[in-house]
């Protein structure tokens, strides 16, 4: 059993060599092309990523009718915006938004794996994939949020969304105080993936 708790001292270099070996063998054997992995990685640099979610949230902040449509029919509302194509593509075929407000805070989680709305948020960060977050977030979300630096007032309802079927959830965070002078693009720049999953608030911009 004690071996189980040891790591290979060359853990990362072996991992790196193994994945390179695997990719080389798969290219040699015609399973993938030498440009296949780059095609995937390019997609997450240019098409799918949190830059889309940030634009959607900023629009919801400046246009309350759009926000209402986004909550009622998330894919249709997103389709109104000029964000990248593919917003109903892989891992975003069925997305739904929920909104934080004065009396409610939302937290998105996937206790079985790491379901995440790829088109609007890109790939999940390590905190989201961590088994400790996934284990604790559904029972003690306030304690978990406190560890993320987000204290939740006693009167606020916490809603936890466990993604285990087709829906991929994301959160419309609250617009921060002191942001009324910002343009929509400047607002989008404030929005983080963490805020759109519920483990962060959107910080106010520096004072004028």
């Amino acid at each position: 059993m004690s071996e189980r708790f040891k790591y290979d001292p060359h853990r990362e270099s072996v991992n790196a060599a193994k994945v390179r070996a695997l990719e080389a063998l798969l290219i040699q054997k015609g399973v993938i092309g030498s440009d296949s992995v780059e095609a995937v990685l390019d997609h997450f640099e240019t098409v799918a990523g949190p830059f889309n979610g940030a634009k959607i949230v900023a629009r919801a902040w400046v246009d309350s009718a759009f926000k209402q449509r986004l909550l009622e029919d998330t894919p249709s509302a997103i389709a109104e915006l000029h964000v990248a194509q593919g917003m109903d593509g892989a891992e975003g075929e069925h997305m739904a938004a929920v909104a934080n407000g004065p009396g409610v805070h939302n937290l998105v989680i996937c206790t079985l794996c790491s379901c995440y709305p790829w088109p609007v948020l890109g790939l999940p960060p390590y905190w989201y994939k961590d088994p400790v977050f996934r284990a604790r977030g559904v029972r003690e979300p306030r304690a978990v949020l406190q560890e993320f630096g987000v204290p939740i007032a006693a009167g606020v309802e916490v809603k936890v969304w466990d993604s285990s079927a087709q829906i991929r959830w994301f959160v419309i965070p609250e617009r921060p105080p002191g942001s009324s002078h910002l343009t929509e693009a400047q607002l989008a720049a404030l929005v983080t993936p963490e805020a759109m999953m519920g483990v962060a608030l959107v910080a106010s911009p520096p004072p004028l």
Partner: protein, 254 residues
């Protein structure tokens, strides 16, 4: 019972990891990419809603690889190992083993080639672009693989109805979070249409298209009042086979 099927609610794990990075080592990008290419050329896409040309793709990959494949592997891990290894380390173990098990490569080849790249980490990968596969990868990412299908039957449950979560036999793979088994909730929404999961989960119950519901639970119903935080509501999307009418004898069926 597998720990990975019942992570929700596990206690005494210590603080959460707040690392916001998606990848912590450069190599992790490559295994993520390999996995996604496999999904884009998987034979199961024959039945996808977008008409993908998987049969005619110039690839030697002629096997099904979906999220269910990756998840089933992670759920089969020794539970201490599941916590020990980082997310993409688990992917690398699972995907490497898959290609060996399926006969695409041998364990010896993988081991020798790994040794080779350990000794020569800067050596370039073989060159052999595959434009048709590249196009399929891009198309798959843009158009996805929705599980939405026509309903075979009307949904059994309606919005507002009380339900009890089923407790099906343990299986290799499930989409039922373990902490919800036998708990009482209420139907919050009935999603349009029906959804088909990638595979049958056998005695666990996923098989063919079925309605999916958003079910709402009060935290004390799941954890007990003493172990719950105040004003906490849990929503879970559950396939119909995972739900049952509540016990009729207590008279609370709405």
């Amino acid at each position: 019972m597998k720990l990975q099927h019942a992570l929700g609610g596990l206690e005494n794990l210590g603080p959460v990891n707040t690392d916001v990075r998606v990848f912590v080592e450069e190599w992790e990008k490559r295994i993520f990419g390999i996995h996604t290419v496999m999904m884009a050329e998987s034979t199961h896409l024959n039945g996808a809603l977008p008409a993908y040309p998987v049969d005619s793709l110039p690839t030697t990959f002629k096997t099904t690889w979906t999220w269910a494949s990756l998840r089933t592997g992670a759920e089969a891990m020794q539970p201490f190992d599941y916590f020990k290894y980082r997310y993409y380390e688990k992917w690398l173990m699972g995907i490497g083993q898959f290609f060996v098990d399926q006969g695409y490569i041998t364990a010896q080849e993988l081991s020798e080639k790994t040794g080779h790249f350990l000794a020569s980490p800067g050596e370039a990968l073989p060159v052999g672009p595959n434009p048709a596969l590249r196009a399929q990868v891009v198309d798959y990412l843009l158009r996805g693989d929705s599980g939405l299908r026509a309903r075979l039957a009307a949904p059994i449950f309606q919005v507002g109805q009380a339900v009890t979560v089923a407790d099906p036999p343990a299986a290799d793979h499930t989409r039922l979070p373990g902490y919800l088994r036998n708990k009482r909730g209420r139907i919050d929404a009935v999603y349009p249409g029906a959804f088909e999961y990638f595979v049958s989960t056998g005695p666990d119950g996923l098989e063919g298209p079925m309605p999916v519901y958003r079910v709402v639970f009060d935290a004390p119903e799941i954890w007990g009042a003493s172990m719950s935080e105040p004003r906490t509501t849990i929503y879970a999307d559950l396939f119909e086979v995972y739900l049952q009418p509540p016990d009729l004898s207590d008279g609370t069926l709405s």
